[in-house]
């Protein structure tokens, strides 16, 4: 399946490196908006079709593209999405804009293979929602609460200017995708140097379930996420106290284009690539 990237910043470039390792996904081009972009120069050096005249130009140059990763900004996304919809091209939305169903690949992607846009929620949601889903498939989960701690250096202007939207979207994802009745999200930025890895804590209140059931479900889900995010792991074994299950997750980045501490960005690009892979596999199976 031919795919393209719009946006030549950190996220776009990390996607480019990841796509090079996915045989089913053929990256053909990268679109940007700035002639001086170092990302576009890098993409050109890898032999991809490159344009600084935006998405439409790329789609004209490479007519076979079936799916585009939008790695621009919330503002840029709406215009890009309109172009893609008009041409019937699927969009994996890496921006904070809220188009399309909320998706976490290890949890609910199979329900949304045909969606015009896939919304990856937030990096925090990609890290913690699988754990909430792993808990809620064992026992009714009236409440889930998460704390996502990321390195200050890895929090871009989008996250900083929209921190409320980040916490609210992440909390909503715990309910809509994770399966909890109620969700709460807290985000912490830590400026330590050298930068810390992304750390996440998940607290869930549960009605029933045994420790063995929770541990098996959590370990299976951890493996499912680690399949597409190799640096995703349990920091210590799950803790149990009264009706509370607590899980600690650490996410180390793959270091493709972004530094390894930026596990929060890596989990987003990895999830984006995984989404495209699942769409492509379904297409191959149907053909």
């Amino acid at each position: 399946m031919k795919v393209g990237i719009v946006g030549s910043g950190n996220i776009g470039m990390d996607l480019m490196y990841k796509l090079q390792r996915r045989p089913g996904l053929e990256l053909v081009g990268v679109a940007g908006r700035s002639a001086g972009s170092s990302g576009l120069a890098l993409a050109r050096s890898h032999g991809y079709t490159v344009t600084d005249e935006g998405l439409e130009r790329l789609l004209d140059l490479e007519p076979g593209i079936e799916l585009v990763f939008d790695a621009t900004s919330a503002q840029g996304h709406y215009a890009n999405f309109a172009v893609l919809q008009a041409r019937g091209i699927q969009c994996v939305n890496m921006t904070p804009a809220r188009t399309g169903p909320k998706v976490v690949p290890s949890v609910n992607m199979m329900e949304h293979l045909d969606a015009p846009a896939i919304n990856l929620i937030t990096c925090g949601a990609q890290a913690v929602t699988p754990m909430v889903a792993a808990i809620s498939r064992v026992a009714h989960t009236p409440y889930a609460e998460i704390v996502a701690t990321i390195a200050s250096k890895s929090a871009g202007p989008g996250t900083r200017q929209n921190i409320d939207e980040y916490t609210i979207a992440t909390a909503d994802g715990l309910v809509e995708v994770g399966g909890a009745d109620k969700g709460k999200a807290i985000i912490i930025l830590n400026p330590a140097d050298p930068p810390i890895m992304m750390r996440n804590t998940v607290h869930a209140r549960v009605d029933g379930g045994t420790q063995r059931e929770f541990i098996e479900s959590i370990e299976a889900m951890t493996a499912a996420v680690a399949h597409y995010v190799p640096g995703y792991r349990l920091k210590v074994p799950p803790l149990f106290r009264d009706d509370l299950v607590t899980v600690f997750i650490e996410v180390e980045g793959a270091g493709d284009y972004l530094p390894t501490y930026a596990g929060n960005l890596d989990i987003m690009t990895s999830a984006g690539v995984r989404v495209a892979e699942l769409i492509e596999e379904r297409g191959t199976a149907a053909a």
Binding site: T149, D164, A192, I196
Partner: protein, 347 residues
């Protein structure tokens, strides 16, 4: 000359906000009415009320409050006549929706608190507060972690966003007197003249009143304090001791010292479960530079996992934990326990 009647320092009493850390956020609306009414009569400028970690912070992570911010702040509004109600918001935890709700119930002073290097995540909240017509003071928490000039650059971001004042928040009680004065000097140099400087001190190194007084001598005009010193860690700057010292030094506060003493002894001490003390744990907070609010979380984890509180605190300091990383306390305790015993499950 009316220097005797015009306060040169405005007191924001934080007993009903920072003090709530000392009782695991169990204040009741009755406590709030009783204490806030006395603070109001005693003449403090503002009364901070709500969960110790700010609006919307009641959680498993920070501690579940016995009563909502709405219940506590509405109780305060019933009794406040002169003092203004102050609400605290920590971006990443509280949101603009929480802020609007606090405004609707009567809060007219907003505190927007970020870690000392992350001022820009509070820009939108400072802006909304000003738009609503609130007075906005910002806080740079864990202010000991970065040098004065860097801290002042962050303060400037808050001032440019519209903050009327910026506080040096010594969350860990780790500043020395010299450290605090250098930060006030840097703020005065970096901030426009109409943006005030504030000081928020904890007593972990037994310096809270001294730091606050010296900050005022250096030009700070906003001071946080708590009756009977009730607060996180070894407690906060003690309101009545601060007022007595400032008055003796010729800095009027506009408050009635005896009324504050009576409020501390008759209304606050009865609700305290333990007096604030400088002991091996709270002193270690200041020495290691760990947020004071971590104290009771570390105590609980120490009991749960059977490891020394100080070991947990020193490790938190080593990893440069910031406010809000309470989850790291449990994780470190679990790690220390598993290193020792080869198991990480609580006993």
């Amino acid at each position: 000359m009316n220097a005797q009647t015009t306060p040169s320092v405005r007191l924001n009493d934080s007993t009903l906000r920072d003090g709530s850390h000392a009782i695991r956020h169990q204040f009741t609306p009755d406590d709030v009415r009783r204490i806030a009414a006395r603070l109001d009569r005693a003449g403090v400028y503002a009364v901070s009320v709500g969960h110790g970690d700010g609006l919307g912070a009641s959680s498993i992570h920070y501690g579940l409050a016995a009563h909502t911010d709405e219940e506590l702040q509405s109780a305060a509004m019933e009794v406040l006549q002169r003092a203004i109600l102050c609400a605290v918001l920590v971006p990443g935890t509280g949101t603009k929706d929480h802020l609007r709700a606090a405004f609707d119930r009567g809060a007219r002073l907003l505190r927007v608190a970020t870690h000392c290097t992350e001022a820009d995540i509070g820009i939108q909240h400072i802006g909304l507060g000003r738009e609503l017509g609130m007075e906005v003071h910002s806080d740079l928490m864990m202010a000991h972690q970065i040098p004065p000039a860097e801290l002042a650059r962050q303060a400037r971001i808050m001032a440019d966003a519209g903050a009327n004042g910026v506080y040096i928040m010594d969350t860990a009680g780790a500043l020395t007197i010299e450290d605090a004065v250098a930060r006030v000097d840097a703020f005065r140099e970096a901030l426009p003249a109409d943006v005030e400087v504030g000081i928020h001190a904890h007593n972990n190194l037994s310096l809270a009143v001294a730091i606050s007084v010296e900050a005022v001598r250096a030009g700070a005009t906003l001071v946080d304090a708590c009756l009977a010193g009730m607060g996180a860690g070894a407690g906060n700057c003690q309101t009545e001791a601060l007022v007595a010292t400032l008055e003796r030094m010729g800095f009027p506060t506009g408050t009635d010292l005896w009324a504050l003493q009576d409020a501390a002894d008759d209304a606050v001490r009865p609700v305290m479960t333990q007096p604030p003390v400088i002991d091996r744990s709270t002193l270690t907070l200041g020495f290691a530079g760990v947020p004071s609010s971590f104290l009771l979380h570390a105590r609980k984890a120490s009991e749960q996992f059977g490891v020394d509180e100080r070991e947990i605190l020193v490790e938190l300091g080593r990893r440069k934990a910031v406010g809000g990383q309470e989850d790291m306390i449990i994780q470190i305790a679990a790690e220390l326990a598993s290193e020792r015993m080869g198991v990480s499950q609580p006993t």
